[in-house]
């Protein structure tokens, strides 16, 4: 008897310990959430701060921390973004301690929001949120910033005042601000994807740079027959889709767009889309298009482009063209050239081509659960001021850049690193201009990031499309609208992709399938989607 009671007691003790340790966890966390809450009330004192006082504001006093959720982060030198020189420096200057949370995956943000366990701030493409910014505001995922911007974001408000066209883009239809936007500060920066081909091959074969679809056919055929390319043209489908290369020649596209009457249309139901699909099917059949076109990924395309398997591709200035030029630097005469978005007839300009709006929905939002709103706003607003702009775009003076004749020039330490680290890798440690950050991207960044003349020329070449006239801006939907069309839109895209690929791969014939395709899209609710998009666009135009 005595023995068993002893056992029982010890068991109870163990269980109590377990429970106590759980309870301990709970209480510390609560403590952590409670204390900083007081900070936000102190905000009133700095309400009257103006730009001239900016210097005095930073670094903020006291223990200011925010948690910052972003998507994936992969870097050889820095385990989290918070470890980068840029963030370390910014934390020091602003006096705000930032704890980064990185999660990768298409569903990461969806799961974060569904869990309700929101961080203080997060980086996201707001137009991807169902219902867009409006719904995010309604659901409390993000906080309305108008008043906070008035109080604590003099730099950003100054930028909006100076650039009314940006101001229009970054608001909801009701005039609410909801994030710290990533803005492409120059037209030059909005174009960064396009067709490109092996210049050395073109020269060898005495071919001029192809401009029309027919010339492309000749070139690809020559690449195949004369140069032994087994996959003359290759690309990642996602890039073709977002750039509308080739399809633009047929006055069709992969996206919703604004036609010349100002109406929203879906580019993949235009007659031209059928012709485009037929052309690609022909190219595939004749072995001019990569036989693995539905599955090739970035690495495979890179391998093909640098080893002579492919001679032409569609891709980005930096991560594709620049990377391939570097990777193939030991290949004799290897050279790439950016080519015009092809057209049907010589001298025309393609109706579509990759071109982004200065603001396309990407930015940093402050959640309704944010504990220290002032710290968050001050931290990000710094990036839109003079000093912050330089820090975000060029890094730390004397380390990652020098001012030479008033031009911020990246140092060799960054661009030609002795340890062989790529400029992209180095720049991501010192700047955030290369990818979606809370900043106004500086043209001078791209002028240097595009190290090769080929890249600079490519951008100029790719700018020659009418894509900019047709792009949908970052319109916002109401919650009802997005509930109604969210799933339909994704089903429509999926179905379009399916038919497109099956036709290109020769599984079906696009001409016999076309009527059925159009009917099916209508049955799925394409007209409803168009109506909603039109409403949203009208509201946008009335902002």
């Amino acid at each position: 008897m005595r023995k068993s009671t002893a056992k029982l007691v010890s068991l109870l003790v163990i269980m109590m310990m377990v429970f106590v340790s759980f309870a301990g966890c709970g209480s510390t966390e609560e403590g952590a959430t409670e204390t900083p809450a007081t900070d936000s009330s102190t905000g009133t004192e700095s309400t009257e701060s103006t730009e001239t006082e900016e210097k005095d504001v930073y670094p903020l006093e006291g223990d200011r921390t925010i948690t910052y959720w972003t998507g994936g982060w992969v870097h050889a030198d820095f385990p989290t973004q918070g470890d980068t020189h840029l963030m370390q420096e910014k934390m020091k200057r602003t006096g705000v301690e930032v704890e980064f949370i990185h999660q990768t995956g298409a569903d990461a943000f969806s799961l974060l929001v569904a869990s309700g366990d929101l961080p203080d701030v997060f980086g996201y493409r707001f137009t991807n949120f169902p219902g867009g910014p409006t719904a995010a505001l309604e659901q409390g995922v993000v906080m309305e910033m108008n008043e906070h911007f008035e109080n604590w974001a003099p730099n950003l408000m100054q930028i909006y005042a100076d650039n009314p066209e940006w101001d229009k883009l970054v608001k909801t239809d009701d005039g609410q601000y909801y994030n710290f936007p990533f803005i492409r500060g120059d037209d030059y920066l909005t174009v960064f994807v396009g067709p490109q081909a092996r210049k050395d091959w073109l020269d060898d074969l005495n071919l001029s740079e192809p401009e029309t679809i027919d010339e492309w056919y000749t070139v690809l055929k020559a690449f195949k027959e004369e140069k032994g390319a087994t996959a003359p043209l290759t690309f990642e489908y996602s890039i073709l889709r977002s750039s509308d290369a080739f399809v633009g020649a047929y006055d069709a596209s992969f996206e919703y767009f604004i036609n010349s009457e100002g109406e929203v249309e879906f580019g993949s139901v235009r007659e031209g889309f059928r012709d485009f699909t037929r052309t690609l099917a022909k190219w595939y059949e004749e072995g001019l298009l990569d036989q693995d076109i539905a599955t090739v990924d970035r690495d495979q395309v890179a391998a093909r482009m640098t080893t002579g398997v492919s001679g032409a591709a569609v891709g980005h200035t930096g991560s594709r063209m620049g990377a391939w030029l570097t990777a193939a630097s030991d290949v004799e005469n290897y050279d790439l050239v950016g080519l015009r978005y092809p057209t049907l007839n010589k001298g025309e300009t393609a109706m579509f081509g990759q071109r982004q709006h200065p603001y396309f929905g990407q930015g940093i939002g402050v959640t309704s659960k944010a504990r220290d709103v002032e710290a968050a706003v001050r931290f990000f607003d710094y990036g839109y001021g003079e000093e912050g702009h330089m820090l975000y775009n060029f890094g730390i003076e004397g380390k990652s850049y020098e001012m030479i004749d008033g031009y911020p020039t990246y140092t060799d330490y960054v661009l030609q690193n002795e340890e062989g680290k790529s400029p992209a890798q180095m720049l991501r440690g010192y700047t955030q201009s290369v990818f979606n950050g809370p900043l106004v991207q500086d043209r001078r960044y791209m002028e240097q990031y595009a190290q090769y003349d080929q890249q600079k020329n490519a951008i100029e070449t790719w700018m020659q499309t009418n894509g900019g006239d047709h792009n949908m801006p970052a319109v916002t939907y109401t919650s009802e609208e997005s509930n109604a069309i969210g799933a339909i839109m994704s089903e429509i895209y999926d179905y379009r992709d399916e038919i497109f690929f099956r036709a290109v791969l020769g599984d079906i014939d696009i001409d016999s399938e076309w009527d059925n395709y159009i009917r099916s899209l209508d049955r799925m609710g394409l007209q409803d989607v168009l109506a909603v998009q039109q409403d949203a666009l009208d509201r946008y135009n009335n902002r």
């Binding site: 068993s4 056992k7 029982l8 068991l11 269980m15 298409a106 569903d107 969806s110 799961l111 929001v113 569904a114 869990s115 309700g116 949120f129 169902p130 309604e138 659901q139 409390g140 995922v141 087994t230 996959a231 489908y237 036989q291 693995d292 076109i293 539905a294 599955t295 090739v296 495979q300 398997v309 309704s368 509930n483 969210g486 799933a487 994704s490 089903e491 999926d494 179905y495 992709d497 399916e498 497109f500 690929f501 099956r502 791969l505 599984d507 099916s520 049955r523 799925m524």
Partner: protein, 313 residues
């Protein structure tokens, strides 16, 4: 430790429980953490299923979100892809059962027959290995190997065949999926059967040998009948997952040209539901999936009870 106690049958459950609590107190304490675990982590989260009948909005929370009745279910059942995803799920599942289920059994029997200890160990290690490779890596390998310049096509080409982009042909998707599944799982799955084989009384084999039975006869009349109960239990459990085709492998392997055969319920839920933030809709479809699974489990159990006397409950 276990103290048997005879009860009068008429005594109500509560009274019996009270008595038993007194007698076997420490046993109840031992089981308590497990019960708690199930309550907290398995039963409590079930209230989240409520959102299948609501329009879930994170700002309003599970209880605050408005009720919408069965509208999400109706949307799924009347949707454009309902027939396709459900039939794809059943077909893929059926093939997996047909070809995938017997493989571990065959493998276990074969391994059991191997006489050389060393060779046997080698075979086991080699067949278990794929199970430990991350799915993402496995699928990456499959995609790379099956590309036109991949190793599979190199072999086909070597024997005079034409290079075919295997993952882009709808007709090859199911075989690729099933075969790679067998490669991944049969080794690992054979472990439980090997354990069952170990338990067979060697004297059975000895007497069969005296009776002049050859190897095949021994397999047929001793080995297989001895592991039938294990097979049945495994089969019932498998039936409970009939619609659970892992979406991870599907979404890592499919592309638009194979949607028509590859898109199953779970991948559809992931693509249309989760990545589109349609939590309520995904929950509704997921619930349908679970209910069907449960029905299959119960049916299989009933059937096996009738046919073989072995069942889960």
């Amino acid at each position: 430790m276990i103290k048997n106690q005879s009860y009068k049958v008429e005594e109500p459950f509560i009274v019996r429980l009270k008595k038993d609590l007194k007698v076997n107190t420490s046993l109840y304490f031992i089981v308590l953490p497990v019960v708690l675990f199930y309550l907290v982590f398995r039963y409590f989260p079930m209230y989240g299923t409520l959102i299948a009948f609501k329009n879930y909005s994170p700002g309003l929370g599970i209880f605050g979100s408005p009720w919408v009745g069965f509208s999400h279910f109706i949307r799924f059942f009347t949707g454009n892809f309902f027939v396709r995803v459900v039939s794809n799920t059943f077909i893929l599942s059926f093939y997996e059962l047909l070809f995938g289920f017997p493989m571990p059994i065959i493998l276990a029997i074969l391994i059991n027959e191997v006489r050389s200890r060393r060779y046997r160990k080698l075979v086991q290690t080699v067949t278990y290995m794929p199970f430990f490779i991350s799915l993402v890596v496995v699928c990456g390998m499959i995609v790379q190997f099956s590309a036109t310049d991949g190793i599979i096509n190199d072999i086909i080409y070597l024997f005079g065949g034409r290079r075919v982009p295997l993952m882009q042909r709808a007709s090859y998707f199911r075989p690729m999926f099933i075969i790679s599944g067998i490669w991944q799982h049969s080794g690992w799955g054979s472990i439980i059967y090997l354990a069952a084989l170990m338990a067979i009384d060697p004297s059975l084999y000895e007497s069969a040998e005296i009776d002049g039975a050859n190897r095949f006869q021994k397999i047929r009349y001793i080995t297989i009948p001895s592991i039938v109960p294990t097979i049945v239990i495994m089969f019932i459990l498998r039936m409970g997952r009939i619609l659970n085709i892992g979406f991870e492998k599907i979404i890592l392997l499919y592309n638009p040209s194979t949607y028509q055969v590859a898109d199953v319920i779970s991948s559809y839920v992931y693509r249309v539901g989760l990545t589109n933030f349609s939590w309520s809709y995904s929950t509704a479809v997921g619930l349908v999936n679970s209910v069907v699974n449960l029905m299959f489990l119960v049916a299989a159990n009933k059937l096996s009870k009738k046919a073989t006397d072995s069942s889960l409950w």
